[in-house]
């Protein structure tokens, strides 16, 4: 196990809050007119676990994180004038000074706060972005041998005699790491395998296996896994949720209506140029950079709206997306827009912007903004599907009846509805054991077996239908608002058969009848077998030994 300084911290572990060091580049004072950096530092330090300071020319000082040791900080946030330069060197310097590089978050204040209409607004927006980054980096699990891989690049991309004998600069890339205890691949779940664009995930001997060499850390599997069994350094669901919660929920910072802007590494420069060349009139776009926008599920979009965002935009790479996430992203946005159509103006608050020039991006982002939303969500931001979508749908449709509360069948609906043919079901509970989200649960009350279905937890993965030996389970990919409001319902109920010897309940009556029917069709000694079927397992053994309870 790795040294505790950088080992992933188990969830739920109690202890003092980790200290975060915030460094702001002194050149921001000239990049953004009259930006009060000292005031921002003082404001950030109202939280006892934050230490903030201004560093001259931070953007060109990868080793400036040396200050982390002085304040015993295990995380850092860098407020920079532009996109992070020289990432590999910064990674090495962070490590050298005792920081896990995946617990260091850069924040491009220079581009995103540059053209704010007034310096007071720039200060407020900077505070918001830094607070979001701090909230996210606090929950960063850090790296481990399983969650990073070495990247060696030949200097100048050339093969040479020098390359034979010297090591190229070393950097590390994040890869997906598996928490085996949370994974239910052994029960048949393979949701993550299907979404991986590089086939880095596979089922080997019934268990999930990760091929580090193939993983490109796009994060699609992170969003697909309902058990949070997969982790990506620097990009976990918990971090993203914390960052969004901070961006949307913070009360003492006023920037007016907020928009959440999701973009990926590939579009970082374009989005930064756009931000630099536009004004934030009407809507303050708060950027969230992700490994790939394929991570953004419908639930992410709806959660943002439910927690007060006036608009959500996704900047995609279009058909040229190297990770082939365009179709998924397009489908999710279409689903959200269709879901929100009954609510005036809300559908337009979800925007998908394809590859474009910075001028087109500006036009797309700064189209007239919808009216500010009053947040009404109950509870924290959650990005784990299907709860993320279900909770957001209930919030957004609360108080709306009739057509607006109708069902929405859609190929990209993250939610589904399960139906069981109760007359043919034998109560074997295979569906309950297989369900990866516990949408299907069973309960035995005295001698009655009940199988219940909770639509808030159903991913429409159809694993229950696949494993049903009687083929009586049907799954529909549909967002049924009425079902969500109603909550869990029983789908199957049956009494237990009682042993004809001892009277104990031992199996669902329907299962006994089904087995008897199958036996009678095929076996020669069907009568003898049927009589055994009407006994509990203990009495069957005693019966086969020619003994009864009296013999004991």
């Amino acid at each position: 196990m790795s040294n505790s300084a950088i080992a992933p911290k188990p969830e739920g572990t109690s202890g003092p809050e980790p200290t975060t060091l915030v460094l702001l580049c002194g050149d921001l004072r000239t990049a953004i007119g009259a930006l009060d950096l000292d005031g921002i530092c003082e404001w950030l330090e109202r939280e006892s676990s934050v230490r903030a300071r201004v560093v001259p020319d931070l953007c060109h000082q990868p080793g400036a994180v040396a200050g982390a040791r002085d304040v015993a900080a295990s995380r850092a946030v860098l407020g920079l004038c532009s996109e992070l330069q020289d990432k590999d060197e910064r990674q090495r310097q962070a490590r050298r000074h005792g920081l896990d590089p995946f617990r260091v978050a850069p924040v491009n204040l220079g581009d995103y706060c540059a053209r704010s209409p007034a310096s007071a607004f720039a200060v407020e927006k900077a505070k918001l972005m830094l607070t979001g980054a701090i909230a996210g980096v606090k929950l960063a699990a850090g790296s481990s041998p399983e969650s990073v891989k070495v990247r060696l690049r030949l200097p100048g991309g050339k093969v040479s005699r020098r390359a034979l004998f010297t090591l190229p600069p070393v950097a590390y890339q994040p890869v997906v790491a598996l928490t085996r205890e949370r994974c239910v691949s052994e029960a048949g779940c393979d949701l993550c395998v299907g979404v991986c664009p590089r086939d880095a995930l596979s089922i080997v001997e019934g268990r999930l296996a990760v091929n580090k060499a193939s993983c490109e850390a796009c994060g699609a599997c992170i969003s697909a896994c309902p058990r949070q069994a997969l982790e990506l350094p620097g990009a976990s669901l918990a971090q993203a949720a914390a960052e969004l919660a901070a961006l949307l929920g913070i009360q003492d910072v006023s920037v007016g209506p907020k928009g959440i802007l999701f973009y990926c590494e590939g579009n970082a420069r374009l989005v930064a140029e756009c931000a630099r060349s536009s004004d934030d009139e009407g809507l303050a776009w708060l950027p969230m950079r992700l490994p790939c926008v394929g991570m953004v599920s419908a639930g992410w979009i709806l959660q943002c709206l439910a927690h007060g965002a006036a608009s959500v935009a996704i900047v995609s790479c279009g058909e040229g997306c190297p990770l082939r996430q365009e179709e998924q992203t397009r489908g999710r946005v279409a689903y959200c827009r269709q879901l929100l159509r009954p609510f005036e103006g809300r559908a337009e608050s979800v925007r998908l912007i394809g590859p474009s020039s910075s001028a087109d991006l500006v036009d797309a982002l700064f189209a007239p903004a919808p009216a500010a939303t009053v947040p009404t969500a109950d509870g924290p931001v959650t990005l784990v599907e299907p709860s993320a979508t279900a909770k957001a749908v209930r919030t957004l449709t609360a108080g709306v009846a009739g057509e607006a509360a109708a069902s929405l069948p859609h190929p990209h609906s993250p939610l589904g509805v399960v139906r069981i043919d109760a007359l043919s079901c034998t109560g074997c509970e295979a569906c309950v054991r297989t369900c990866p989200t516990d949408a299907l649960t069973s309960r035995l009350r005295q001698t009655t077996l009940m199988i219940a279905f909770d639509p808030e937890l159903c991913l429409a993965c159809a694993m229950c239908a696949r494993c049903c030996p009687e083929s009586v389970v049907r799954v529909e990919r549909i967002t049924d608002v009425t079902a969500l409001r109603r909550g869990a319902i029983p789908l199957y109920e049956d009494s237990q058969a009682r042993c004809e010897r001892c009277g104990a309940a031992f199996a669902p009556a329907a299962m006994v009848r089904r087995v008897e029917a199958l036996v009678q069709e095929s076996a020669d000694e069907s009568q003898a077998i049927s009589s055994i079927m009407r006994r509990c397992p203990d009495c069957r053994i005693l019966g086969s030994l020619g003994r009864g309870p009296q013999a004991l």
Binding site: M1, S2, N3, A5, I6, G26, D27, T30, A31, P56, D57, C59, H60, Q61, P62, G63, A64, C81, S82, Q85, D86, D88, E89, R92, Q93, R95, R96, G98, D100, G110, S143, S144, P145, E146, V148, K149, V150, R151, L152, L154, P155, K158, V159, S160, R161, R162, A163, L164, F165, T166, L167, P168, P169, V170, Y172, K212
Partner: protein
Amino acid sequence: MPVEHSGAGGRPPDAARLSDRLLPLAGLAGVREAVYRSISEALLYPSDDRIAALRNAKNGLAAQSDTAAQFAFYEDWRSLLSTLGTLDGARTGELQGQYIRLFQAAPGGVPCPPYESFYVDDGRLPTGWVLALVEGEFLLAGVAISPEVHEQPDHIAMELEFLAILCGQESAAWEDGDPVQARKALHTERRFLSRHLCSWLPSFAERVSVADTTGFYNAISAAGDAFVRYDADLVSALYELALEVASADADIDEIS
């Protein structure tokens, strides 16, 4: 590398750029050899001589910190140095008692058997099969356990020492300008790490973390476990690089 930035103060970049220091592969293999040897030594029965040797080794490792800082195992490296720094002659008795209790004999059974067979041999293979496989790897590399050392080939210290020897062979090959031999050593390292050490060291380290009370063996095995797993990844990458370099048409540069 100039960085265009509006409003920049125009100061030069950080002078101590680690990226500017190309690292000789021979040197890297030498550093890895020293780490494997130190951890191996620390997991043998402690004696005054051994403890003195480990303190010297610690000073040697500390001198390589700039090299180690480039790698993801750097924090574990620092932990190892810090642990070795706590050693002194006064602790020999205490550590001997801990060693026996953890790895050799204890009421109720040995809590942390330091043998691969214990963790890997699930009874489906003939008895001693794991031992034979490990010894076979030693023989293929031209290595044998000295008769003066009374430990089985699959003892943790023997396997770590074997890796140290392979790293030494690799380093010598790079020094001699023989990339073919170096690749061979990397291949053997990669194979041994994936088939043997990495398959059981995490379980061993976990047992030690539960059973150890002084912290010394817990710290050593934790640092060793992390280092081995990071190193396995690095060795794979180095081996792939060596293959790429060997198979491409090389431009011969003047070596300055």
